[in-house]
């Protein structure tokens, strides 16, 4: 009986520590598993007893790559609990902050983590030897995202300016104007990025995904909207738990998110794009079409193009927000704590990030529940590995292994985030 195991013990160029294993027997894929050995940090447990206003800073530390996403889902959930609406310029500033994170995080993934797979390098440093111009463009693009984060958030990793109700300090108009020129450069660079990645070779793989993302009446989604799917789901965020569940897989400690109807689903750029193409700016729509994308893309390898389109949109949106910005009278609205439940979901670069809190009368956290994008995508990643390997069994082990790695990296999995929820594999052998 021919048995073949494709295994990577330490997956490189992902955020966090993970591994995968695919077992093939007699030409049939028997199993495909993504294993996580990132040590757990127990955020949902340590949040209990903390004040609601400490949660944005604590939760940021779940992930150094997308701290704004954690902060945004947190503050929206708290404000939901306290019945507070943050709108006007403060709401716009939150979108602007998120633009910074999308630019930074997507540029990191496109140029430093994912492109080396398509061009055949081990990493960005090797790639820079032959593609210096592109790498420098990627670094500069990423830097603009970081500067936007620093300007509004105080620093790029774990911004200090986000609070329940708004910000500690709102930027002056002239501060925002100071970054306009860089953002215009970034918009051009993003356009070039779309063209650049559109020229890569893509394995012809299409998947019939159930896409899940936020959808807002007027905007490409960051912080607000209903949770929708391409199969008819359309619910307010507060009903997330009624429609999604975390399944406990027998053989391990895995918690796979699934729709209660039993399907696995996909969150992230491909899902957002497919469900919100009509909400992209005209420039982003046009660039997508020119890059050969339809308004729905189901090839996971092409997610790199969709990320580039989203970077372009984020630059465009940031410029729109800055142009229309009117300094708010106060940096935050007043929040009065009460005993309540609060729900929040925002679009992290990697997809829907859901938070739920139960708060005591004085605003102390009694219960916290956090579902990050990577745990929602784990089932899709494994399905993809299994179906990919099945179609390419003629490749030699090394090529196949590399292709499997690339397949996992299509999802930009953030294992640091996912850890609190995923299968733990403590066996490092």
């Amino acid at each position: 009986m021919a048995r073949r195991t494709i295994k990577v013990d330490y997956l490189a160029r992902v955020e966090g520590e993970g591994a995968f294993k695919v077992v093939v027997r007699d030409g049939v894929v028997r199993s495909a598993e993504l294993n996580i050995f990132e040590p757990p940090r127990f955020f949902e447990a340590l949040l209990r007893g903390r004040s609601h206003d400490e949660a944005p800073d604590i939760n940021a530390r779940i992930c150094g790559i997308c701290p704004v996403a954690y902060q945004m889902s947190t503050v929206h959930a708290m404000e939901d609990a306290f019945g507070v609406t943050v709108d006007g310029p403060l709401r716009e500033l939150r979108r602007l902050l998120y633009c910074g994170e999308w630019i930074e995080s997507h540029a990191l993934h496109i140029y430093m983590l994912h492109a080396p797979d398509f061009l055949g390098y081990d990493g960005v440093i090797d790639m820079a030897r032959d593609h210096g111009h592109a790498v420098r463009r990627g670094l500069a693009l990423k830097k603009v995202g970081n500067e936007l984060l620093s300007l509004i958030g105080g620093r790029e990793i774990h911004p200090i300016n986000v609070r329940v109700g708004g910000f500690y300090r709102a930027p002056r108009r002239r501060e925002l104007e100071g970054i306009e020129e860089q953002l215009m450069w970034a918009r051009d660079a993003a356009l070039e990025t779309v063209k650049w990645v559109a020229g890569f070779d893509f394995p012809p793989r299409e998947r019939d995904y159930t896409f899940v993302a936020l959808r807002h009446p007027h905007e490409y989604p960051f912080n607000e909207g209903r949770i929708v799917s391409n199969r008819g789901l359309d619910i307010p965020v507060s009903q997330y738990d009624q429609h999604f569940e975390e399944l406990h897989v027998e053989r391990s400690t895995a918690l796979h998110s699934r729709l209660r109807s039993g399907e696995s689903y996909l969150v992230g750029p491909l899902a957002r794009y497919a469900l919100n193409f009509d909400r992209l700016s005209p420039l982003a729509q046009e660039a997508a079409h020119e890059a050969g994308l339809e308004s729905i893309c189901t090839n996971p390898y092409q997610s790199i193009i969709v990320r580039a389109v989203e970077v372009l949109y984020a630059c465009d949106e940031a410029l729109r927000i800055i142009d229309a910005y009117v300094e708010p009278e106060r940096a935050a609205v007043t929040v009065t704590a009460r005993a309540a439940k609060g729900f929040g979901a925002t679009e992290a670069p990697r997809g829907l990030l859901y938070h739920r809190y139960v708060l005591a009368e004085d605003g102390t956290i009694a219960e916290a529940s956090i579902v990050p994008p990577t745990s929602q995508n784990q089932a899709s990643i494994e399905d993809d590995l299994a179906s990919f390997v099945g179609g390419y069994l003629d490749l030699d082990d090394e090529t196949l292994q590399h292709r499997c790695e690339q397949t996992v990296r299509n999802y930009d999995p953030c294992i640091s985030c996912a850890t609190h929820f995923l299968r733990m594999n403590i066996d490092r052998s």
Binding site: F42, A45, L46, R50, M112, K143, S252
Partner: protein, 260 residues
């Protein structure tokens, strides 16, 4: 390739952490290619493929020790490293995950996992220096990029990194920030917190929450009295010290000094 042989070999290791401190290296957009030119980035899985091999001249270690497997792995990292520098509050003080040290870890596990028995987690999260000799500690949650570049360049130049030992208060004065405590009565850990961030929080109208951990000789007792005068109760005082550097001794002591 011949030039590469003589370049010092750099490794970046991860333990329990959020990846933010190692991301700081990739966030040095202007310096990254120069760093890559001066050093051989021999092991840095977040950025590049490549296996653990041989010895490293400089190891940057992110994260704290929270599992038996990691307690063994850090010994191996030490053996393979000529110089070992810890980066960030997780590595230097146990990080936010050290809040378990004040609780029952089994209870923590049962809150998050359906099958806690499968999880390899120690009762405590401890800094790297509790396990192996550390040549230099770089503070912050996250570390500052400027200080990281200073650590790398000082290593290349064969000298000790220069990082200030004074408090965030001094940085506020240097930046001409208005003192948030004096002006607005806002509680602030600046007087006892190690400098390095550039006093970001006060510049954004908020008090420092101590993410760089305690400075060398903090007078935390007198700050705690001040915080009480500003209206913080025991529980709030305990919480302000118990965050990203809760296990750093000076903060741990204040976090425990209740009702005095």
């Amino acid at each position: 390739m011949a030039a590469k042989i003589n370049k010092p070999r750099l490794a970046v290791w991860k333990f329990a952490s959020c990846d933010g401190c190692q991301l700081s290296l990739l966030d040095c957009e202007d310096e990254l290619l120069a760093v890559a030119g001066a050093l051989d980035i021999a092991y840095f899985p977040e950025a590049t493929r490549g296996a653990v091999k041989g010895r490293y001249d400089l190891s940057l270690v992110e994260g704290s020790i929270t599992t038996r497997a990691d307690a063994a792995r850090i010994l191996e990292v030490r053996q393979r490293s000529r110089a070992l520098v810890t980066i960030g509050a997780c590595a230097t003080a146990g990080g936010i995950q050290a809040l378990r040290n004040f609780a029952d870890v089994r209870e923590f596990m049962s809150v998050v996992y359906a099958r806690p028995e499968f999880i390899d987690a120690l009762a405590t999260s401890t800094p790297i220096a509790d396990h192996v000799h550390v040549d230099f500690e770089l503070r912050g949650c996250p570390i500052s990029k400027r200080q990281l570049i200073e650590v790398i360049s000082s290593y290349l130049a064969g000298r000790r990194p220069v990082t200030p030992g004074h408090s965030v208060c001094v940085e506020c004065k240097l930046a001409s920030n208005v003192c948030v405590t004096v002006a607005h009565g806002t509680p602030c850990l600046g007087p006892v917190t190690q400098a390095g961030c550039g006093a970001i929080c006060p510049a954004y109208n908020r008090g420092c929450y101590g993410c760089y951990g305690p400075m060398e000789t903090p007078n935390a007792t007198s700050l705690t009295d001040r915080l009480r005068q500003l209206g913080m109760d025991d529980s709030a005082i305990q919480r302000i010290y118990r965050s990203f550097n809760a296990e750093a001794p000076a903060f741990r002591n204040q976090g425990q000094r209740r009702g005095s």
